[in-house]
Amino acid sequence: MLQNAWLIPLFPLLSFIVLTAFRRHTGRLAAVIGLAATGASLLMALMVFAEQWQGNSFKAEITWLEIGDKIITMGYEVNPLNALMLVIVTLVSFLVHLYSKGYMEGDSRISVFYAYLGLFTFAMLGLVLSPNLLQVYIFWELVGLGSFLLIGYYYFKPEAKAAAKKAFIMTRIGDVGLFIGIILLFWQTGSFEYDEIFKAVANQEISQTMITLTALLVFVGAIGKSGQLPLHTWLPDAMEGPTPVSALIHAATMVAAGVYLVASAFPLFEASQTALTTVAAVGGATAIFAASIGLMQKDIKRVLAYSTVSQLGYMMLALGSAGYTAGIFHLTTHAFFKALLFLAAGSVIHAVHTQNIEEMGGLWKKLRLTGPLFLIGALAISGFPLLSGFFSKDEILAAVYADGRYGLFVLALIAAFMTSFYMFRLFFMVFSGQPRSKQDGVHESGWTMTLPMIVLGVLAVVAGYVNTPWFGTFLNDYLAQGPVELAHEHHGPLWIPIAATTVSLLGILLAYLMYAKKSLSRDWLSRSFPSVSDIIYNKWFVDEAYEATFIKGTKAASCGGTLIDRYIVEGAAEGTVSAVQLLAKSGNKVQDGKVQTYGTVVILGLAVIFAVVALTGGYFS
């Protein structure tokens, strides 16, 4: 089965091609084609995963290019990490395809939508299967393209158009870093292959500075894709896309690509303490920064978007603290519960036709399925005991603590508190109390939308048990078969899970008191610290700062460039033109058809020749 793994990405590609070629004729069939393709991928991914579980890795390559003595290959590889990713991506993609059938009902461009979904799924699966960095980079860009197309799906909305462009440009900034990193690695090791690079790193064939530099550059790519500080601003704006897209791309898969990249290049990072510290610091800072913004957002999808940024920060923090398993573990559980939350949010939006949580309320009784499922997701992300998020978050905290990064540990705890607070603020504002605006015809969504949520809900509950301190660390044992050396298992002291549970319960309690029971006024905090709340409400003015510096700066530079172009470059061009024209005009005047003029010219020319010969001392000398 493993040797057929290359087929997995081809099914969605096939669906993309078919849907693009016959988009006028597919109509309602589009969903069926998309579902069949991703369903086939999912089945194959599960089989690959089952085989991989027994510890077989597989790698196949063909020569693509020969440049001198360098051989560049193309191929695919199955190892524990990417087999797991394959399952996550195909599963979430399949569920999102199913969900979209209900959510996008009646959209006239449904086949285009499914075509884009197929393209994106293909790119993501290709990225996961890539055995070398060049191939990773190709699919990395394709993933970016898929994201761009899907964010801008409602291209007639100016916000969606702007958001798509923003996402494309912001991630491209990171991609440049990744590209330079890949080139440097090729220069140093002569290969794009992960194996070769890791071997060179292990044998210390590369200088320490170069390792640090390349690791940081690769991490810049991950920063862009995974929405880490300071390139995170595109991710919340990406919520302009359809909600299933947000669930698939901006929660479960594409944004995890950055984390996946760091994880798959982990030996490189491990070789440099500076790189690890940077990853951990950026991750920790992003976790708390994004969580703080999430506290005050009013758009249901934006809260979830900031929560995604924050959780991705958590994963980076885990990887930076050498918690390889912890990071991958959280990636897995997060994919499930965040996709669940987004799909549930989509179901809510589908029911009430607004995204503003101020206009919702009292939906618990009306959405009998979505409500409890959203609650499960919220509990899981908050780290409520015995749900998946609890185990993975605990693992991260233990890894950070074991690595001795106590400052970041405290940050992570505070971020955990904020997470549970904003999640339950969201939950209570949407589902409890009385409706705050007129809600007509609110009803539960159809089975195509609820079934994926139920599957994800079950997974959000049980996914944590693949790696627990009590029943066994299956995931860690499984990942240990991979190329990454990970002997160290973090069994932190018992007080860590207790502390984590306490802060998350405190967050839930605070949200309950403020938004459900209303015994605390909703704005008691913002009234006590008006300036702080103002900063947070405006997302720390990051967008404004970029506007004032980079955008204004670029505009000023381009104005200068325009001036140079207009007056210097064009001036030179115009000057040349008019000089030639002048010459041509005088030449033209000579050709007036009169013999006498021609004669004059001949005589003048003769005179010039005489003058030249006389001045240079004679022709014959």
Partner: protein, 104 residues
């Protein structure tokens, strides 16, 4: 008899040639232009005759050449006048200015 030096003959020929050239290039009347050309030919004839007498190897060839030139000039004048008359039949003018069909 031979008190006039060669340079004087050459100077005379030069002046004559320049007058002829000036006339050929500036005069409007086609007949005058033809006369000017004759003037330039005669300047050349003076040169030839002068060199046949005063050059390092004096001889008769220069004078014979001059006779040829005069004969050719006469023929040329006849052809030139014939062309002029032919032109005049097509276009009632002898002004060289207006004969600019070479540009087309």
């Amino acid at each position: 008899m031979s008190s006039v030096p060669l340079s004087m003959y050459l100077m005379l020929a030069l002046i004559l040639f320049c007058i002829g050239l000036f006339g050929a290039l500036t005069k409007k009347n086609a007949v005058i232009v033809l006369i000017s050309i004759e003037l330039m030919l005669n300047a050349v004839n003076i040169n030839l005759v002068a060199f046949s007498k005063y050059s390092l190897h004096p001889g008769l060839s220069g004078q014979i050449f001059t006779l040829f030139t005069i004969a050719v000039a006469a023929a040329e004048a006849a052809v030139g006048l014939a062309i002029l008359i032919a032109l005049y039949r097509n276009r009632p003018t002898v002004s060289v200015d207006e004969m600019d069909t070479m540009k087309h």
